[in-house]
């Protein structure tokens, strides 16, 4: 799963959001590191929809425009949980290795 897809799924984890709502939520989740352009966002949404990880929730009129909301499917929720677990496990390994390598690396450098 790409980083963008991971953030988009995470943005939908606590409820349906429309396109620009996802952009804002992803920016907030990533502390401003990931700022999705609309073209990039809909490339990700298209793939996630094809994989049945998200689905349309509803449409709402807003200032004369229709906003379409998306939500996670059960498969999407499961995929996100698995990805989060994988990333957490990877982070644990990285932290452990950095912890082990730290003193040795410092010794070598010194």
């Amino acid at each position: 799963m790409t980083g963008q897809a991971f953030f988009v799924l995470t943005a939908l984890a606590d409820g349906p959001r429309h396109g620009y709502g996802i952009v804002g939520e992803v920016a907030e989740l990533s502390q401003g590191r990931v700022r999705l352009k609309i073209g990039s966002l809909y490339g990700v949404l298209d793939r996630l929809a094809d994989e049945s990880l998200i689905e349309p929730d509803r449409e709402e009129a807003h200032d004369g425009r229709l906003r379409r909301y998306y939500r996670l499917t059960q498969d999407g929720r499961r995929a996100l949980a698995e990805e989060a677990e994988l990333r957490a496990a990877t982070a644990r390994v990285v932290r452990a290795r950095l912890g082990q390598a730290g003193p040795a690396a410092a010794g070598t450098a010194g």
């Binding site: 429309h18 952009v23 352009k37 609309i38 073209g39 949404l45 094809d50 509803r58 229709l66």
Partner: protein, 345 residues
């Protein structure tokens, strides 16, 4: 109301393929306008007049357009075929895996490896007598590994193992052809081509962008296939009532026909989303089983009765395919993303 800002953005969106715009353009335009407009009429009027998509925004749409034009991952037709091929591949691998499981059970039973009593004489398997026997056993068991490997998402590993697994069969056929010990029946070549070579080539449909395989249903299909197909066949063989059982090609035709019949209610129900992909997959499997049946009819040229039986099997599979064909045709035209329900706000 279409503002200048919206028109400018929609002009950029024309870079995208038509099928994609039909699906996403309104959504993208709405999201883009959301990113600009403030809700203050005066400010929004000014923004709409002077603003336009940034170069980064244009670049993101252009990048998406290039990707879609080059790889075209998701036209409804293309997606449906991709999914159908992947399911047909899994079904063919399931056939190999069930046959491998059959051999594994018989070997385990014959060797009394798990403290089992001796099997009936009809079911006992001989100890491998030579190199080819050993290779046959190894390849048969390898299909079990390949099936599970693919389901677990290790596509590349599964493809490599499958490509290796079909080599001994080809070598054996070529050896028999060239040494002329005995003429190789067309059916043996047909089996290798349809159930080995075509299968390995079709496994390329499992690329990193493909949707993940539904693991549990396919894993459970292995013991289910063994219990529902192999156990009755072994029972018939043991009781000596197996003379009327069709040959392997006939069994393939009848299994596909039964699967079509089981799927037909879903295929005919307008509410069953995604049924068309299964209908397409069943048509692919029927084509393979039918081709195998036709080629193996040449084994029975000496017996008109068996030819008639084979033709009847072909007719059965054709009739069964007719049941799901309309649904398969719909699957190629229907977008996979359902329309949302509209609500007033």
């Amino acid at each position: 109301m279409s503002s200048n800002l919206e028109r400018r953005y929609r002009r950029v969106l024309r870079l995208l393929p038509g099928w994609y715009r039909e699906r996403w353009e309104d959504d993208m335009a709405a999201a883009f306008l959301d990113s600009w407009l403030t809700g203050d009429p005066a400010a929004d009027e000014y923004i709409s007049k002077v603003a336009g998509p940034s170069s980064a925004e244009v670049a993101s749409v252009a990048g998406l357009a290039v990707r879609l034009h080059l790889s075209g991952p998701a036209t409804p037709r293309r997606y449906a075929w991709g999914q159908a091929i992947r399911r047909a591949v899994l079904a063919l691998l399931l056939v190999h895996a069930v046959l491998g499981l059959d051999l594994l059970v018989l070997v385990t039973w014959s060797r009394r490896l798990l403290g089992l009593p001796a099997p009936p004489p009809m079911l006992a398997t001989a100890t491998p007598g030579g190199a080819w026997d050993v290779v046959y056993y190894v390849v048969s068991f390898a299909w079990l590994v390949i099936f599970v490997t693919l389901i677990l998402g290790r596509y590349r590993m599964a493809r490599i193992l499958a490509a290796l697994a079909i080599v001994p069969g080809l070598v054996a056929l070529l050896q028999a052809e060239f040494t002329r010990i005995m003429p190789v029946p067309f059916g043996s070549w047909a089996w290798w081509i349809l159930f080995n070579l075509v299968l390995v080539l079709a496994m390329t449909a499992f690329h990193p962008g493909a949707p993940p395989v539904a693991r549990w249903p396919w894993l459970l299909a292995l013991p289910a296939g063994y219990l529902l197909v192999i156990v009755p066949l072994l029972t018939l063989r043991e009781t000596g009532d197996s003379a009327w059982v069709p040959d392997l090609a006939g069994q393939c035709c009848l299994l596909v026909a039964l699967a079509c019949l089981a799927h037909a209610p879903r295929a005919w129900s307008r509410r069953a989303a995604g049924s068309g992909v299964w209908s397409l997959a069943l048509i692919l499997l029927a084509a393979i089983a039918g081709a195998y049946r036709m080629v193996t009819l040449t084994n029975y040229l000496y017996d008109p009765h068996l030819i008639n039986v084979g033709l009847a099997e072909l007719l059965i599979v054709l009739a069964a395919v007719a049941l799901v064909a309309p649904d398969a045709a719909r699957a190629q035209a229907t977008p996979t993303l359902p329309r949302p329900r509209a609500t007033a706000a």
